[in-house]
Symmetry: C2
Subunit: 396 residues, 2 copies
């Protein structure tokens, strides 16, 4: 596995890695509280909701990457803290809107925001967080000077646009069933929907704020892309294999949503044509929603009442037709998902994905080695090395 | 009515007003196409969706206000065009997300984006539009210089935050049923959810780009707030009284959604306590969604089948209980809405709202008169006068 290529002396111990994350996370949350203006009476309830996702248990990897890069390159904590907090705010806004888009039930061990407060509130809270992210980036002009502030604004603008493009591509492929199946197509998707906002923007914004050279920023962009792809592949793998075979709440959520993953792409391109057609048919089906689950209970009720003779045979048919109309079509079933899981296992697609993640992490390590040359040893640089390990070794 | 207070010589004829709007709208759409990058293969389908709402029939009032203010104050068309296009993009992003939040079926005579392409796509397209709005504002540095560019960015950041706060307040009040009923509470809501993004930001951004003084910007802010409140009250009135008594698609949408309007506030504070309680109970009920309408059809079917003896009495009760569970509670009925309409008519609340709109438009005219002093006569200034008339005289 990959860890052998990063010298052990470069990485932090698990304890020190966790301590680094905890320390930066506390600083970042204080910063978010500061510019989320929770004392404004007009917006009091809005800002409680803005703080909801950021305060749930999480690593805070993105702001930590921004701060570590700035400090590893000789910049100060103070110079990067507002920008790090803005990136965490963006991440949480994307999570809220993603949860709406994917119809997800749980996030960080609790009900999703739209499940707890309705879709209307969730969409608006995400918008509020995107709006709140602008002002600290403008205040950067006073904090770090005009040139750096404008370059960070440009980096964030590019990140926001690229992420929306990636998300659009994912939604399109999920609805189509049929999608391009080469590794390069998947990598393009992972780079745009994940790598830019989770890695490229934190690393390059941190570097800009430290006054890095164009060369350094180019190498950090490359590091961010490789790390982001390794991270996303591992995310896909954990979604299928993370829960040790027990059906959990979110386990196989990607399959229910029909998301394009490297695992799925590998399976689809290696199965026989007739299996492929069947699998594509399953992927095109809707994910059953909460209403759909309640309607399943009603269908079972009609069945039972007909069995007891309380509903006539023709009434049963009429009611079932009516229920299908409310359903709005055919939704995926657990049996469908099991077919996908069997084909994935038969094709060795998870193992294939793990190998590709390791290869991207290997490239990331090579990027970081070039970046490290000439930089003084520091806990911040060690933290960056640890993240390269984490990208493929993590289990959560 | 108000029109008498604005001298006729100041306003444009209807024909010239429409021509001014058409001309600026064409320029703005070209500008949006330019920075929406519709030739990017990765985002091709995303950008078709980004252009969907902007290309539907609309006045384009916000960008026209921005361009007219800049030019009336001696600035150039070129200086304000990208910013005007950004404001139109924001407006359309807000409309897409508002339609999701309100569960609206139609926008500008066509199905809403979420109805045509699903909620997931609609949320993401709105996010993409907000992301696309940042880069042209950064390009303003080259176009108009650093100082103006930063002030416009600040104005847009404030506008985005204020709008999200106003939207949050509206959603909270709509869900509560009980809400504060003074005119001042309504005015605060209308200023934050509507006036800032529709009037204050276009007017002040245009002024900043023309190099206006702090005094001028303060007066334009006041003009924008008064115009925005007049505009929003008229919007509320048209929602109830615009369609000459014929039940249209969107007619009374505000009542179905339980939205706080001046009309509703006046009715609630003038009815006897027992009526008020009944009305608040109606407002708290959910709006029936598309699934809910399909379930109503199922309930009718169960009824009919029971009448024919094909479903037993106990089976009917069991099925009705099951349907109520899927419904997820009690939704508003047409009879509920008719009760609200009757009370509004009995209290003269629409007439009251019209008077308050006229009073805000009167204040807006006073603001514009002060702004006009010392400015050369121009078609752009005449356009601003026409908008003051339009705010209370419009019927669409």
């Amino acid at each position: 596995m990959y860890a052998a290529t990063a010298s052990a002396t470069h990485s932090l111990s698990q304890v020190d890695f966790d301590a680094y994350l905890t320390e930066t996370r506390d600083l970042v949350l204080d910063e978010i509280r500061r510019f989320a203006r929770i004392d404004d009476p007009l917006g009091a309830s809005l800002y409680d909701l803005v703080m909801d996702y950021p305060l749930r248990p999480a690593k805070g990897l993105r702001p930590a990457l921004c701060l570590a890069t700035c400090r590893a390159l000789g910049g100060s904590l103070a110079a990067a803290l507002p920008t790090a907090a803005v990136l965490e705010l963006y991440h949480n806004a994307f999570l809220i809107h993603d949860d709406v888009e994917d119809g997800s039930d749980r996030r960080r061990g609790e009900p999703t925001l739209h499940l707890a407060h309705g879709t209307a509130v969730a969409v608006n809270v995400g918008d509020a967080m995107l709006a709140l992210a602008m002002e600290p980036l403008l205040d950067n002009v006073r904090l770090v000077g005009l040139g750096k502030a404008l370059r960070v604004l440009q980096a964030v603008a590019t990140m926001a646009r690229t992420t929306a493009e990636g998300q659009a591509l994912e939604l399109r492929w999920a609805r189509q069933g049929v999608r391009p199946l080469e590794d390069a197509d998947y990598v393009r998707l992972a780079e745009s929907k994940t790598a830019h906002y989770s890695f490229v923007a934190p690393l390059t914004a941190g570097a800009i704020l430290a006054g890095a050279t164009g060369d350094q920023i180019e190498r950090l962009t490359d590091l961010g892309l490789r790390l982001g792809v390794a991270f996303q592949i591992q995310d896909d793998v954990l979604n299928l294999a993370g829960d040790e075979g027990v059906y959990g709440k979110e386990w196989c959520g990607d399959l229910w949503e029909g998301k394009h993953t490297l695992v799925l792409a590998h399976m689809l391109r290696t199965v026989p044509p007739e299996t492929r057609q069947r699998v594509e048919g399953i992927l095109r089906k809707e994910r059953p929603g909460p209403a759909s689950r309640a309607l399943d209970a009603l269908t079972a009720l009609v069945d039972r009442l007909a069995g007891e003779g309380a509903v006539s045979a023709s009434a049963k048919r009429a009611l079932e037709e009516g229920l299908v109309q409310v359903h709005g079509g055919d939704a995926k079933t657990r049996a469908d998902i099991e077919i996908l899981i069997e084909e994935i296992a038969a094709r060795g697609s998870i193992e294939y994905a793990r190998r590709l993640a390791a290869s991207h992490a290997h490239d990331a390590a090579a990027s970081l080695r070039r970046i490290s040359e000439g930089l003084p040893a520091s806990i911040h640089l060690q933290f960056l090395w640890s993240v390269v390990d984490f990208a493929v070794q993590r289990d959560s």
